[in-house]
């Protein structure tokens, strides 16, 4: 008698359906988000080294490869942020009495609005 049979979860589970794939993409985009923060810190450090390094760095950033990486990082950050904003109402549902506030309201109030506000403030600070 061999007893019960153990069957492993399919190793390729993350390509097996759309929801699994979208989850995997969301997780992978975090690499770009994290990587870009490291890049920003390095850049800030370089900035502090004097005008020469600054100009050299600006030149490097004009390279098509650098531009492409920026576009990729932006797309990844957008995907990451938007998917998480849309999940906020599931993580932190808000209720008024018996009724749960609609998901869209929570996502806008707790995700999109603060996002627009902070982005606007930064933009104002830069352009002023």
């Amino acid at each position: 008698m061999r007893g019960p049979l153990r069957r492993p979860f399919p190793r390729d589970w993350f390509v097996r359906n759309g929801a699994y794939r979208r989850f995997m993409i969301r997780e992978l985009t975090s690499i770009f988000v994290g990587g870009y923060i490291v890049f920003l810190l390095v850049w800030l450090h370089q900035l502090g080294q004097g005008p020469q390094q600054y100009h050299a760095l600006v030149e490097t950033m004009r390279h098509p490869l650098a531009v492409m990486l920026h576009v990729l990082a932006l797309l990844a950050a957008l995907y990451h942020s938007i998917t998480w904003f849309n999940l906020t109402p599931i993580v932190m549902p808000l209720r008024i009495g018996e009724d749960r506030l609609p998901n869209a309201v929570v996502a806008i109030a707790m995700g999109y609005l603060p996002w627009v506000a902070v982005s606007g403030a930064i933009l104002w600070g830069v352009l002023r």
Binding site: M1, R2, G3, P4, L5, R6, R7, P8, F9, P10, W13, F14, R16, N17, A19, Y20, F23, E27, L87, I90, V91, M92, P93, R95, G97, E98, D99, R100
Partner: protein, 247 residues
């Protein structure tokens, strides 16, 4: 109309034999109003009495007929042949569980996990009240969704974490714990926190979300787990910032 037929490719496994698990094909009469469970019962009655599977209510209430249907965890009493016809339908036991025989899985681990979260009202004082504990409709609404679970285990069969963390408490058990923590009549949150707060419980979840997608009762176990993470974090801060306070 000629008698239409549909093929069911059914997972077979016997704990006594030496053979590997196999798939056996059965040709089953096709009826528009038949669900997969009807086809399995037809096989059992007319083609092969040795086929083993669990079922009871045939109406999505008992939670015992969960199987993988074409690779997706489903209540077989709730999926119609017509949604697959004329393609063959592949029926397997729920993944992530040891298979006892054919389509029957072992639920021992699952039942132990349910028990571990103390899924009952815990009160601090011993004496039960003379009359019932009152609850307002809005207090009921806090946890009602999480109390609809029928223990069908489909959510466990959708969860990729269980492979890596075999002792992962898992979606339904965490949702059940959260259900009692949210109940205004309950005072047992600190007792459940120990089981609920670890890497093998809420922090083992990476929020894939597929448990919620497959749940036939709209329990939203993924939501329950994330909300339990928030509650667990609050509990931790309370503990660290106010160590002298009541837990």
């Amino acid at each position: 109309m000629a008698n239409r037929m549909i093929t069911l490719e059914v997972f077979r496994y016997s704990p006594e034999g030496d053979d590997e698990a196999t798939f056996q094909d059965y040709l089953v009469p096709y009826h528009e109003h038949w669900v997969v469970l009807d086809a399995l019962n037809w096989i059992k009655d007319h083609a092969d009495g040795t086929l083993s599977f669990r079922w009871s209510c045939r109406m999505g209430v008992c939670g015992s007929c969960g199987m993988m249907v074409n690779g997706e965890p489903k209540l077989t009493c709730a999926v119609f042949l017509k949604d697959y016809y004329p393609s063959p339908i592949r029926v397997e036991p729920l993944i992530n569980f040891p298979v006892e025989r054919d389509l029957v899985i072992s639920m021992d681990d699952f039942l132990a996990k349910l028990q571990a979260v103390k899924p009952w009202l815990i009160r601090e004082e011993e004496e039960p009240p003379a009359d019932e504990y009152l609850q307002t409709p809005s207090q009921l609404a806090q946890y009602q969704q999480f109390s609809m679970c029928i223990n069908c285990m489909l959510c466990y069969a959708a969860c990729p974490e269980i492979e890596g963390i075999p002792d992962f408490l898992g979606p339904a058990a965490i949702a059940l714990a959260h259900r009692y923590n949210l109940d205004s009549r309950d005072q047992g949150q600190s007792q459940r926190q120990e089981v609920l707060g670890g890497e093998e419980a809420v922090w083992g979840c990476t929020f894939v979300g597929e448990c919620t997608a497959v749940c036939p009762k709209n329990v939203d176990p993924a939501g329950a787990i994330q909300q339990a993470k928030v509650a667990s974090t609050k509990d931790w801060y309370r503990h660290v910032l106010l160590p002298w306070g009541k837990r």
